[in-house]
Symmetry: C2
Subunit: 192 residues, 2 copies
DNA sequence: ACCTGAACACCGTTCAAGT
DNA sequence: ACCTGAACACCGTTCAAGT
């Protein structure tokens, strides 16, 4: 849970902006999935009434789209940093292992998959395609030809996504030790 | 979409049982996620009013739990069949590639992950643990020691789950050709 | 500029009454 | 044995009125 600063307006009442709503929505999504983000419950978290929501957003879908755009921007920036690592081995290892820590971004990815909401699915697809592009580039830098690089990128990304789900869902990867051991084995097998 | 038989009762009205509701719910989940299964919408599909729902089930959660139990039973039976393949190589390949066809069970797995609903998450965890157990056994049969077999089972299962998500979510694995090529490469890399 | 509070349609749930 | 239809609480949405 992220803490939200409260600002006071002239009359002493609490005042919120769109960003506050989006951050609270991302917290709610990560914790309990798409259904967890009801307008009344987020309004309670923020200390306002649900009616005020519609000053900031046109609809619940609007909030969802805006929150996802924020998350996607963060994700893009994280990836851009990793992309600049000069050594392709290190780049591959870092993308795989760093993303393995289960923080809000990873929880969001799992919670929002298969939501059946088009705008959500499209955002997830863009994030996957970005990661695949960077992984693919790293394998190319290692000297693989185009088809091999694509195949390997896809396999390592699948192994990463699958492990994320296992982490949230089952007891199989529920400790740091188990996860570290998985990461070591996956890297040894998939990254030359 | 599965077609539902309609039976007539004495007065000529349509009559439904718990199984009809559960099948319709699974169709709805697979198509649009957990939110898609509203009682009124399923009732319309079945040609009855929403009030009749509560003759069969105590609550919406009840329907969800029952539908998941059915699905889990089917899944267990599928796995038991695969488990009986004598050749461990073939067992591994079949579990990986056969599950790769995107039918209702796979769509359900993706759609219901990260739902935030405890009973749902637990069912998914049991299914994952069952598949891991069978994969683990197959690697043992191939002569791997216990830690290696566990590591390999985990990696191949992650690669499978990750690919399922990519299939539903992005354009990366959106054709049979691409998926077949992925499966071939994954098997070559992960299954000795 | 941002919020409240009342209003309305819709979904989950209950239940008395129907066949 | 199974269904209807009315009722109620709750959430999404609108909007006039408040500061």
């Amino acid at each position: 849970m992220v803490m939200h600063k409260k600002r006071k307006n002239g009359a002493g009442a609490v005042s919120r902006n769109a960003d506050d709503w989006q951050e609270a929505a991302l917290d709610a999504f990560a914790y309990g999935g798409l259904r967890a983000a009801s307008i009344p419950s987020i309004a309670r978290t923020l200390g306002v009434t649900k009616g005020s929501f519609y000053w900031h957003f046109g609809s619940l879908d609007d909030l969802i789209a805006g929150a996802l755009a924020k998350w996607e921007k963060d994700d893009r920036e994280t990836l851009e940093t990793l992309e600049q690592l000069p050594d392709p081995h290190e780049r591959l290892r870092e993308i795989f292992s760093q993303s393995m820590e289960l923080r809000r971004p990873q929880a969001l990815f799992v919670a929002l998959s298969g939501s059946g909401v088009t705008v959500v699915e499209k955002a997830l697809a863009r994030m996957s395609e970005n990661r695949l592009r960077v992984l693919n580039k790293a394998y190319r830098d290692l000297g693989f030809d185009a088809p091999s690089a694509r195949e390997r990128a896809l396999l390592v990304y699948s192994a990463y996504v699958g492990a994320l789900y296992l982490r949230t869902q089952s007891a199989v990867l529920d400790s740091k030790g188990k996860t570290d051991s998985y990461v070591r084995h996956a890297i040894a097998t998939l990254i030359p």
